[in-house]
């Protein structure tokens, strides 16, 4: 249900060329919640995360937080480039996640 709602939201956005499919969103969720992949909930609270950490900001209304998808990608890819003090791992630069996986995480996070 949530996934379907998300597709509508994405389709309404003028910038979104392609809507995220439920499969992409599900893949993103798996990456976000798997300790050896994104492990997002180790540091970030988001709805549905089980016993999440509180080191990073709460991920709620994510589309409003980071409306620019390119910026969002850059944050996950290498946040240290933007903020040298961050402790967020450089998931793209250090090859923890592939570009496809980062995009799937974004698709998932945009449903939060």
């Amino acid at each position: 249900m949530k996934a379907i709602a998300a597709i509508f939201v994405v389709c309404l956005m003028p910038c979104a060329a392609l809507a995220a499919t439920p499969a992409e969103i599900a893949a993103g969720q798996k990456i976000a919640e798997t300790t050896t992949l994104g492990n997002c909930d180790a540091c970030h609270m988001f709805q549905g995360a089980d016993e999440a950490g509180n080191i990073g900001p709460v991920l709620k209304d994510v589309r409003a937080m980071v409306p620019d998808r390119k910026l969002f990608y850059a944050i996950i890819y290498d946040e240290e480039a933007r903020n040298p003090q961050t402790i967020m791992p450089a998931f793209g630069k250090n090859q923890i996640l592939t570009p496809k996986q980062i995009n799937e995480v974004i698709d998932f996070m945009y449903t939060k």
Binding site: T34, T35, T36, N39, A42, D50, E51, G53, N54
Partner: protein, 166 residues
Amino acid sequence: MTEIEGLILSAPSRRTVLAAVAAGTAAGLMRPALSFAAAAAPRASSYPAKAFIQHSQDATLQAMFGTSSVTASADVKMDAPDIAENGAVVPVSFDANAPKVTAAAILALDNPFVMACAYKIPEGTSPAIASRIKLGKTTKVVSVVQSGGKLMSASKQVKVTLGGCG
């Protein structure tokens, strides 16, 4: 960050134990036991093996007590953490306010085998026992006490989480 009032130094009991171990003098501490014939080995034949290989509360209670009929009761108090620090060492204790308690058991419903431990409690022994058990994952933990032949229980959901770094 919700720091709580600091706990300075360690609990006195820890220090007592440490001092006793270090001195090697306190009663019964650190005696290698194999050669010690002070108490005979318990009879393994009394072990309710069947109760320890069941996968449901009903089957476990049936095998242990001959009945699966159990009533949740406020007279059984149980202490277990909301979130286990580590699933390998979870402190669990119970304390029953009931007459003629003859036996007790601690169950972890989502463990591979439901029964964690059981006790035969003779007259004169308090129906209050603390121990440490393993939980494979988040599960309901149940303390069951047999009082006058009837089973009464208390239960609590204990969360077991993954470590932070994976």
